[in-house]
Symmetry: C2
Subunit: 451 residues, 2 copies
């Protein structure tokens, strides 16, 4: 069982600077292990390690890396060297790497590549579409050939076909996709049977414009290891393979998590201080504006605060518990929508469940905190009144939180906006404003403090 | 391109109760589409639809569903019916479904199944291990056979082997795994060559105890569609296929997201009010206890609040901005650790970057809010002093937030605790306490209000 190496040991070797020792240590690793190691190093260390490798191995290591990091490494090379490394890779990997490189450099490298035309075709598709992740090399045969002929074709073209093939796509005269046969069927079928007699004709396919999440969803639901991509005439353009689908799944999960927290869309962009500052600081704007709105809207309660300063002491718990409930509800919704687990056809019911949850957890914790607070010394001239304000303030804040947390993602989804986008900051801010306004309104009602 | 059906239309049909219309509508769907539809229905509607299907198709639909939902459906059947449906499925799918069923029912169903022994073997492995997700049916040949003989073996055993085969595992006399050959290699190699001459011997394999996340990581890094599972003698036990790996990736991503929000570990358990209340309410305890601690620790500042009630107005923005920054930092860490993107060998550097980010975003927003606040009418006798308190209060709160948010997941990871567990509620609560204490301490220093 290969183990992903612990980079600390290698970092020590690199710092010591003994190239012979480094080469010897790396010789024990396979390309995937080297790639995993290189990903965790600084740019300078990455270049040191990679320069120890022969050109071909360097290409293989790049193919095993996350594209963003491979792109950073490639962009530090002169165009000639970049091109000679990329020429060894499969077209979809090259397209993924080049998709992350800036325009001027891209032009320089492209002009030096063997398959420039093919690559420009791939790069023209949107990054998150089936076209953007497909490979152009699909194994295809004509519907009239026999199993034996298809096998022979596969043997003859073995060199040009991609490393892993699992299905052969069957096309008609116009190159239109009409069926598919797995290698397993090819091996177990009689040699003289025509392929159209054994191929599957209930096809799962996508167009080049199909969103990559839909492709992943289909592959996962239909248990497929590759999905063919066709044009509007159903002509076979290429194929999206499972390794790219797995990458999409990991990428989308990370993207959803980071987006919800308002921390950008990728981990790579959070690596340097400057980039992280650029992606993260704008998301705080909602919280800042919201915070100002809270300050302004609570201004009317300054006198209440002067009379019962204890009210301020419980603001954090009222807002905080609401924020947590809102986060729970919105997270369940955002993730549920992403994996198709929310009954989007029953919005009312789903929201009602969340609101009921908010209300009951609010009662539970609100009453608990109101009872414990006096024991801890947080008393007031009117402990019963303050207790009621805290209890029902928390119920209100948590009901508001659950309602906002559950409805915002559902509404965004209805209007075709990605529900993950900064749901976190938005929900907690809305809860701060509405929850605290309710809490102070309750206080003026129940504690007879003046406005 | 098959489309996941919109359940609203079917729900209407079911409510109307015309069984003939329902059957006709469902006849147009394939098993995957029916499964996707059934997943979004209520238990009663699920049973109505499934009873319209012949037994064999009902099995296929169950196999295409999320295991938790399939398990709920199976557990509503009498054991005899459950067993006859499960007998049509592949052993790893049955094990996944049965793994979600309670003990007494499991015993009842198992005793009626054909492959009870095999299943008990699979169920004995921990749910999240390679053993728990592997299938026992792996295509295997002896190392001395030729390509032609291996092909013949595959043809003869086609019936008993699983639906999709991509690799054939090569074993020695003791059934020890010595190599692997892809179907592609099998098809393109010369028939009279012995298999050991063409097989790959650099093997990626796992043991039955290997964590499923590690299996997914290896499959994704090595671009494999199946990973063999061996015992401590390297004897071949079974194989984990890519469809299970894809399920693991989706499941783990969901689990991480929900755990961070303190909303349990799965979407299924959040579906009913009772279950959701049980999994979510305990996570609020941290926030409640934290909130009480905030109230108690701020008690000393009641006089400051009486003198400058405007201090209370800016508590939400100071705590809220801190909370958001803490969430950003902790999210980046939790996800970065999960996908191996955090340089865990450079903790100091990573934490420093987050702290610097917190400080600079705190300066930016703190100064901004301090400048805008007076314009909105939130003035005080000492606007400069209050402005300084807000600015540096926010810097402090955001530095604390970034530090806590970045270090807690890293520390948990160091001590082998899952960093995702309720990081959200914990971080925001810690930030509330520490951030607000700092803010009030600053106020007493800069505004010369009495303690």
């Amino acid at each position: 069982m290969p183990v992903i190496p612990n980079s600390a040991d290698y970092v020590r070797l690199i710092r010591a600077g003994d190239m012979r020792l480094i080469s010897r240590a790396i010789a024990r690793l396979d390309e995937v292990q080297i790639a995993a190691l290189v990903e965790t190093l600084t740019p300078k260390e990455q270049d040191t390690i990679l320069h120890q490798l022969p050109l071909e191995q360097r290409s293989e290591v790049l193919a095993c890396m996350r594209y963003e990091i491979a792109a950073q490494i490639v962009s530090r090379l002169v165009p000639e060297e970049a091109a000679s490394i990329l020429d060894n890779l499969e077209s979809d990997d090259v397209a993924d790497i080049l998709g992350e490189i800036d325009k001027e450099q891209l032009r320089q490298i492209l002009s030096r590549l063997d398959d420039a035309g093919e690559l420009e075709e791939l790069l023209a598709y949107p990054e998150n579409s089936a076209g953007g992740i497909m490979s152009l090399d699909a194994a295809r045969v004509h519907e009239d050939v026999t199993i034996a002929e298809a096998t022979r074709m596969l043997q003859q073209e073995a060199e040009e076909l991609p490393g892993s093939i699992f299905y052969i796509y069957v096309v008609d005269e116009q190159d239109r996709l009409v069926g598919v046969i797995s290698l397993r069927q090819l091996v177990t079928s009689k040699p003289d049977v025509p392929i159209h007699a054994v191929m599957a004709t209930e096809l799962v396919f996508v167009t080049a414009e199909t969103d990559q999440e839909t492709v992943a969803e289909l592959a996962s639901r239909y248990d497929l290891v590759a999905i063919p991509v066709v044009d509007d005439q159903r002509r076979l353009l290429g194929v999206v393979t499972i390794d790219d689908i797995v990458d999409v799944l990991r990428e989308e999960a990370t993207e959803d998590i980071l987006k919800m927290a308002g921390a950008g869309e990728g981990l790579a962009e959070n690596r340097s201080f400057g980039a992280a500052f650029r992606v993260r600081s704008p998301w705080l704007l909602a919280a800042a504006v919201g915070g100002l709105m809270v300050a302004v809207s609570l201004q009317g309660f300054e006198d209440a605060l002067r009379t019962v300063p204890a009210l301020a002491l419980f603001m954090p718990v009222v807002a905080g518990m609401g924020g947590n409930v809102g986060t729970q509800s919105s997270t369940i919704m955002v993730r549920g929508i992403a994996v198709g687990f929310v009954e989007t056809n029953r919005l009312g019911r789903v929201i009602l469940r969340e609101v009921a949850l908010g209300a009951s957890m609010g009662m539970l914790y609100g009453a608990g905190i109101a009872l414990i607070a006096p024991l801890l010394g947080a008393t007031d001239q009117n402990p019963l009144g303050l207790g009621l304000v805290i209890t029902f303030g928390m119920v209100g804040s948590m009901v508001i939180a659950a309602t906002v947390g559950a409805s915002v993602p559902l509404l965004l989804h209805r209007f075709n906006v990605d529900p993950a986008v900064a749901t976190g900051p938005f929900v907690t801010t809305a809860v701060d404003i509405l929850g605290l306004l309710f809490y102070f309104w309750l206080a003026t009602m129940l504690l007879q403090v003046s406005l």
